[in-house]
């Protein structure tokens, strides 16, 4: 009976509309933030930061982006990888062409370019829905990667065909490229994710979020109460691609350091989609939980057999991973289509009544 609503009186609508309405939730969230910003960078080693935490943060951002589009606005997209690539390549072009530009500004601009591309490929959504739209987004995925592969201008015609993050500074610290310390890159990623997650939450609980969900649940009825379908869907595409674009930029500049188009293949699109499904469609928190789950799973699958002294050939391991992924997706869709976010909610409800059974 510690975690409870009784006694938490809401006397204003403002209080009722807050993200965390319970005192205990706010305390818990503050603790998580302190842990993430202060304790983790001191404690975590290079391996954990580089192999687990940074990709988790970046994919969280991409998953939030996809969730805005698919979970909230109901438009299925298989083009996440393509939109991430737009962000990554724009960042590369911008920062090599204008080396003095602040790297955060470059990230934002890259997100902006991704948003524009997202709008172009979102245009068919006025006339087509569901699976049909998924095909249109596949067109984005394949066309964009092909373009970045074929046109040398995008990777400055270098012989490797890769884009490599040049070192850029922020507050006197090198934050991008090979020279940047993992702690710094982690903190920057965390900062960006925290801000953008908050923005996303604000968007989805306000007018725009409601019009997205209205379009998702019943587009005709939404139009009849005055929601403009094209406008609303395109905004979802734009914002979603913006998030994916920034995530793409971060994945090259704050994580991989160097990449080619293969880093944004259709498999990445699927992976982000899985995060959204496992985490929970239509939930910002779910996107983050899903990203954590899907990034941690392969690491778990690699390390658990090693711990018990089992050596598994690399390709077998890959297939096992495929099976576990596939099985989990099916399992989640059967058991809890609303994903980890719903499980978390159920747990909180249980906690509210604890220690009584009902």
């Amino acid at each position: 009976m510690i975690y409870r609503e009784a006694g938490n009186y809401k006397t204003t609508y403002a209080a009722d509309q807050a993200i965390f309405t319970l005192q205990l939730d706010r305390v818990f969230m503050t603790m998580v933030m302190v842990l993430a910003f202060l304790v983790v960078p001191l404690w975590a080693n290079e391996y954990w930061l580089q192999a687990v935490l940074i990709p988790f943060l970046i994919f969280s951002l991409a998953a939030i982006g996809l969730n805005l589009l698919t979970g909230y606005a109901g438009q299925l997209s298989l083009g996440t990888g393509g939109f991430m690539a737009v962000g990554a390549y724009s960042t590369y072009k911008l920062t090599t062409a204008f080396p003095d530009l602040n790297i955060l500004l470059v990230f934002l601009l890259a997100g902006f370019f991704a948003a524009l591309v997202g709008i172009v490929f979102g245009l068919p959504s006025l006339r087509i829905k569901g699976f049909y739209l998924a095909v249109a987004t596949l067109a984005a995925q394949f066309f964009i990667l092909w373009l970045f592969n074929k046109v040398g201008w995008f990777y400055n015609n270098n012989s490797s065909g890769n884009i490599t993050a040049p070192p850029r500074e922020l507050f006197g610290l090198v934050v991008t490229g090979a020279a940047a310390k993992a702690q710094v890159r982690y903190l920057l990623s965390l900062g960006i994710l925290t801000l953008f997650a908050l923005f996303a939450k604000n968007i989805v609980r306000g007018r725009i979020g409601r019009s997205w969900m209205a379009i998702r649940d019943m587009d005709i009825a939404a139009e009849i109460i005055g929601i403009r379908p094209l406008h609303t869907k395109l905004l979802a595409f734009a914002l979603s691609s913006f998030y994916c674009g920034v995530a793409g930029a971060m994945s090259v500049f704050l994580w991989l350091g160097s990449a080619e188009t293969e880093a944004f293949s259709i498999f990445i699109s699927f992976q982000v989609l899985f995060m959204v499904i496992v985490g929970g469609l239509g939930s910002i928190l779910g996107s983050i939980l899903g990203a954590a789950f899907i990034t941690l799973l392969p690491i778990l699958l690699t390390n658990v057999p090693l711990l018990v002294g089992l050596r598994i050939p690399i390709d077998l391991q890959k297939h096992i991973e495929q099976i576990v992924f596939g099985g989990l997706i099916v399992f989640f869709l059967i058991v809890e289509p609303h994903g980890l976010a719903r499980l978390w909610q159920i747990m909180k409800e249980k906690l509210r009544r604890w220690p009584f059974p009902y």
């Binding site: 996303a200 604000n202 968007i203 306000g206 409601r210 019009s211 005055g226």
Partner: protein, 259 residues
């Protein structure tokens, strides 16, 4: 006919609508006066719902025109109709299933909300104020329709009668000048019907909203409507006060299946 007289909110002129070979409406004309409750009745398949769909721009008639607030138009998109103050409810409830009752009703305020998306993302001053201001308005309607207890319930979980009420509330949240109700009392028991009648009359009274409603329950129609339009096979066969219509021979024939 073209000059709108002040008391006429809506004029339907010779509207014809067909789908492929099926003639849904043929040459239908009638007027709707400000502040009245007009009932459209007729047997199943008479084109009543099609008529509402034409009025709010969801179907575009092949011939004829609609004059609303003095503006004549042939075809318009539903969201523009909404912008001009036409709201409606549906025969098969069209609520947003994944959202709570409160969120559903708040979507009705969407058109009135102006704050741009950047401010919304930051949830700063104007965005926060706007949200609260509209919440206040919505809460008044929730109070009016007596659905306080279910505001945070996802609408998918609500019983049918409550869903109908939430849907009416969402339409009212748009502060419409013209409210189209498509069988608002279908599938309700007597008590629920009485409640709904009371709400409709109150809306008409208190907000001065003009209402067009489709209803099968003749008792209800005769009780609450000022005038009645009767459709049969897409044609208007009678128009007048409830008493006039009740006495009309054609109407009796249509309902009893003669001719």
């Amino acid at each position: 006919m073209s000059a709108a007289s002040p008391e006429k909110l809506l004029q339907v002129d010779n509207v014809s609508l067909s789908f492929g070979g099926v003639q849904a409406l043929s040459e239908v004309s009638f007027d709707v006066h400000r502040h009245e409750i007009l009932a459209i009745i007729g047997p199943n398949g008479a084109g009543k719902s099609s008529m509402l769909n034409v009025i709010n721009g969801f179907y575009h008639p092949q011939r004829g025109s609609i004059t609303y607030k003095g503006q004549t138009r042939k075809a318009m998109r539903p969201h523009l109709a909404a912008r001009q103050g036409i709201a409606r409810t549906f025969q098969n409830i069209a609520l947003f299933k994944g959202m709570t009752a409160l969120d559903n009703i708040m979507t009705g305020r969407n058109l009135k909300m102006k704050v741009g998306f950047l401010l919304q993302a930051l949830h700063l001053g104007p965005a926060r104020r706007e949200e609260i201001e509209h919440r206040l308005h919505v809460e008044r309607l929730i109070d009016f329709l007596e659905i306080e207890a279910i505001r945070k319930t996802p609408v998918g979980r609500l019983p049918y009668g409550m869903q109908k009420r939430v849907e009416l509330c969402r339409a009212l949240a748009m502060e419409p000048d013209l409210l189209l109700l498509d069988e608002p009392m279908a599938g309700m028991n007597v008590e629920e019907k009485e409640d709904m009648c009371r709400f409709i009359l109150d809306v008409n009274d208190e907000f001065g909203t003009t209402i067009i409603l489709i209803e099968h329950d003749m008792g209800v129609v005769m009780d609450i409507s000022n005038r009645v339009v009767v459709l049969d096979y897409g044609c208007k066969i009678a128009e007048g006060t409830p008493d006039e219509v009740r006495a009309n021979k054609q109407v009796i024939d249509a309902y009893l299946g003669v001719g």
